[in-house]
């Protein structure tokens, strides 16, 4: 069964990492007891916390003013608040350092990651704000509360669930972040793991640091579980949307413009500029080759993900077996793990256990499968579960066997949703950097790895065209698709 196999693949990385660690326990302990580990821990925690808070502030600010006030051009500002999703963080970082060479360290990483992650907060909070009950705010106002008290006592409780959820997303994102932080030269666990892997004959050190990163991830998930609240807003009426006019509107417009400028216009502008300036000495045949590789690899990966995802989704939705739920849980357990850790464990596994897979495209495809199956699976479950049970039952009662029912009834109905989920998986694969870096077959360069190599030499004119191509072919389509996938989600949840 494909589902069981996928679950087996899913537990592989961490298991192998732990095995590797057990083999070299002395070396691992030596590595972890260094003052350096503490330094990394502090750096990582500092960045995770500061970015979470900042992204939350930015996202809330954008969402509230865009949804709740009579802001001029709300569509434009909503777009500016969402577009950073289309820009991989390492591209954003590149955009910055190519304008300001001195841009590095904690503050640089803080700014870039805050801008890169704030859309998650914005989207989630904006959706919650649109759902939330305006009537109770009006009641509060009629009882004489001022705007601030209304926000804290009435609005905020309704937003808590979405802010907690998106903050979790942001913290996990920052923990797993590799490319952007490395370009901005700030030492966190991911960068240290990569360096330990590259420059240590005993790779146990890298495994030891990776296990610490896994533990932090688990800790964050546990903390989130403690504080998760299930606030259900009581929708009393589809009240008219209240759009306030406020006195400081020019100030708000200015702030929103500055955020948009920093998050979208400045970095993309810089990359366009470098592409134009450096176009003369840029080897476009390499770009075409990398583009072709990116497309092929991600196409292969998405076909594989589709296969497994579909099997899992059908198993989950139509059969509801206990084993299916168990496998689903195992597959999900990986989705918070940094790609770098997955990549690293597969390198160990490949070099020592399955020589035939080593440095082949298969190991890379397995990494993508482990990384992106959870989301694809979730996205596929939704359209499948929208297929009315009654229709499959009618089909069966008319004598069609199981396979035929699936092919003639279930899949056609669910098709648009499924296709969107697969396409989204493919676009996500194109943007993946750390696992690709570790596992790509000899001689296979993708857009992301080419960009990475050029950045290591600070050759911006060579890196910028790859960055732009990534945003255009993967980022923007992913953004559009994401919106449509979210729309189906919302459709289901309101049913």
């Amino acid at each position: 069964m494909l589902g069981v196999f996928a679950a087996f693949l899913a537990i592989l990385p961490v298991t192998y990492l732990v095995l590797r660690l057990a083999q070299g326990l002395d070396a691992a302990l030596l590595e972890l007891l260094r003052p350096r580990t503490l330094e990394l821990l502090i750096n990582t925690v500092l960045l995770v916390m500061s970015v979470s808070v900042t992204a939350l502030a930015i996202g809330l600010f954008q969402a509230w003013f865009i949804v709740r006030t009579q802001l001029p051009w709300p569509g434009l500002f909503a777009l500016l608040a969402t577009v950073p999703l289309a820009i991989p963080s390492y591209v954003l970082a590149l955009g910055y350092v190519s304008v300001f060479p001195w841009f590095s360290g904690f503050w640089a990483s803080w700014l870039v990651l805050s801008l890169a992650t704030s859309p998650y907060v914005f989207l989630s909070v904006a959706a919650a704000l649109m759902r939330s009950d305006v009537a109770s705010e009006e009641v509060a106002r009629s009882l004489g509360l001022n705007s601030w008290s209304i926000f804290w006592k009435v609005t905020w409780p309704q937003l808590r669930t979405s802010t907690t959820a998106s903050s979790l997303l942001v913290s996990l994102y920052v923990l797993a972040e590799f490319g952007g932080i490395a370009i901005l030269r700030y030492d966190t666990f991911t960068r240290a793991i990569y360096n330990a892997y590259r420059s240590s004959f005993d790779r146990t050190a890298a495994a030891a640091l990776a296990v610490v990163l896994v533990l932090i991830t688990v800790l964050i998930l546990l903390i989130e579980r403690r504080f998760r609240t299930d606030y259900l807003s009581l929708r009393t009426s589809n009240a008219k949307r209240l759009r306030k006019t406020i006195k400081v509107m020019p100030l708000v417009v200015a702030s929103l413009s500055i955020i948009g400028l920093l998050a979208v216009i400045l970095p993309l502008g810089s990359l366009i500029n470098w592409t134009v300036v450096g176009g003369r000495i840029f080897d476009f045949s390499l770009l075409v080759e990398a583009l072709a590789n990116s497309v092929l690899v991600s196409l292969a990966a998405s076909v594989m993900i589709a296969m497994f995802g579909m099997a899992m989704a059908i198993w989950l939705v139509l059969h509801r077996q206990r084993l299916a739920t168990l496998c689903e849980g195992i597959i999900w357990s990986n989705h918070a793990l940094p790609a770098l850790v997955i990549g690293l464990s597969l390198v160990f596994f490949g070099a020592n256990s399955v020589g035939a897979l080593y440095q082949s495209i298969w190991l890379l495809l397995i990494a993508y499968l482990i990384l992106f199956l959870p989301n694809a699976m979730a996205a596929m479950v939704t359209p499948l579960s929208q297929v009315p049970m009654a229709m499959t039952e009618v089909s069966r009662s008319l004598g069609k066997n199981y396979g035929k029912t699936l092919r003639k009834v279930v899949l056609p109905i669910a098709q648009p949703g499924l296709v969107a989920a697969i396409a989204l998986a493919m676009l996500t694969v194109v943007k993946e950097l750390p696992a690709t870096l570790l596992l790509r077959p000899t001689g296979t360069e993708t857009l992301a790895t080419r960009l990475w190599q050029a950045t290591e030499e600070l050759a911006y004119s060579q890196a910028a065209p790859y960055a732009l191509t990534l945003v255009i072919i993967a980022g923007l389509p992913a953004l559009a698709l994401n919106a449509s996938v979210r729309a189906t989600y919302r459709g289901v949840s309101s049913q």
Partner: protein, 329 residues
């Protein structure tokens, strides 16, 4: 249905996987290259053009590739290891993974630029230099050890993940001892600004982002040829005579497999044509007779380098440990 879907899609995946990124072709010459792609790929392209041999190159840091070769052991798909410094080659040789190079090829290169046991061979030489911005640095440090002094805080670009820097640290360890070396590295944790590559350091010194940096000589010459010597902001300097900061090193090659094509490739690297490429395109020192270095370079024998046996650079593992202990990696 599931099985049928699987059966239908599997060939597609297979075809895509194989067509898209043919996994290591059995007949191709597999090169693990620790040198920058921009510096060495043009030469490899010429080789392919002339011989028609199929070549696959895996680019990464020299130390990373050395570690990878050791981890892979006999399973390694590599035929040739092209390293940025003698230390990475020595480390792989120490593990018994390099084939002996034939005497006729060894004889082309002076003994001090190849392995004592004939397991690897230098193909081009380079010198460690101080790259500095004359507007910001007026008093040049006498020794590379001086860079540990407080007045250099945050002013010195270094590339700890780079093989040339690591080779320099090995020499520092062996000449001055581990204690001094560790102290220096720890001081550089404060004084240094970390970059990935030599080229990035030069870029940063040119842009005025850092005041000086430790690099190999040829990066400066390559840049000078590109934009014109008169347009260079930064300059190069050597430390005092015999200072370990002036280390002479080679980029070299070792043969990993018994594939005869590997030996042919080594032979090509030592041909007059390839050596001239290093002179004209990468501004390194050629290592065979009758080829003159790039005009304007101090002759290799006149470099105030320390007297150091490149074979000793094979103690790379201990060096990496020390750099990591200092928290630079």
């Amino acid at each position: 249905m599931k099985r049928r879907l699987f059966a239908a899609l599997l060939p597609v995946v297979l075809a895509l996987g194989l067509a898209g990124c043919s996994p290591a072709d059995e007949s191709a010459l597999v090169i693990y290259a620790g040198r920058s792609e921009s510096l060495i790929q043009p030469l490899i392209d010429r080789y392919i053009e002339e011989t028609g041999v199929e070549v696959e190159v895996r680019y990464a840091g020299s130390a990373e590739l050395a570690a990878q070769l050791l981890e892979e052991g006999v399973n390694s798909p590599a035929d040739v290891f092209l390293a940025q410094d003698a230390g990475a080659l020595g480390a792989v040789s120490k593990a018994g993974m390099l084939q002996l190079i034939s005497d006729d090829l060894l004889a082309l290169v002076e003994p001090q630029y190849r392995a004592a046991d004939g397991s690897w061979l230098g193909v081009s030489a380079r010198v460690r230099v101080l790259n500095y911005n004359p507007e910001r640095v007026t008093d040049l440090p006498e020794s590379v050890l001086d860079l540990a002094k407080p007045q250099y805080k945050g002013r010195v670009g270094i590339a700890p993940s780079n093989a040339s820097f690591q080779a320099f640290v090995t020499a520092l360890r062996l000449i001055e001892g581990d204690v001094v070396a560790l102290q220096w590295l720890k001081a550089m944790k404060n004084n240094g600004v970390i970059f990935e590559k030599n080229s990035a350091i030069l870029e940063a010194v040119e842009a005025g982002q850092v005041d000086m940096g430790l690099i190999n000589h040829y990066y400066w010459y390559a840049r000078a040829k590109e934009i014109g010597k008169e347009n260079m902001t930064s300059k190069l300097a050597q430390f005092v005579t015999s200072d370990v900061g002036n280390l002479r090193n080679v980029a070299g090659v070792g043969v990993v497999s018994s594939d005869p094509k590997a030996k042919e490739f080594v032979k090509y690297l030592l041909s007059a044509q390839a050596q001239q490429y290093f002179v004209d395109e990468t501004f390194e020192y050629p290592l065979i007779k009758n080829i003159a270095p790039y005009e304007g370079l101090t002759p290799l024998s006149d470099i105030p380098a320390p007297d150091f046996d490149l074979n000793d650079l094979d103690a790379l593992e201990e060096t990496l440990e020390l750099i990591r202990e200092a928290g630079l990696l």
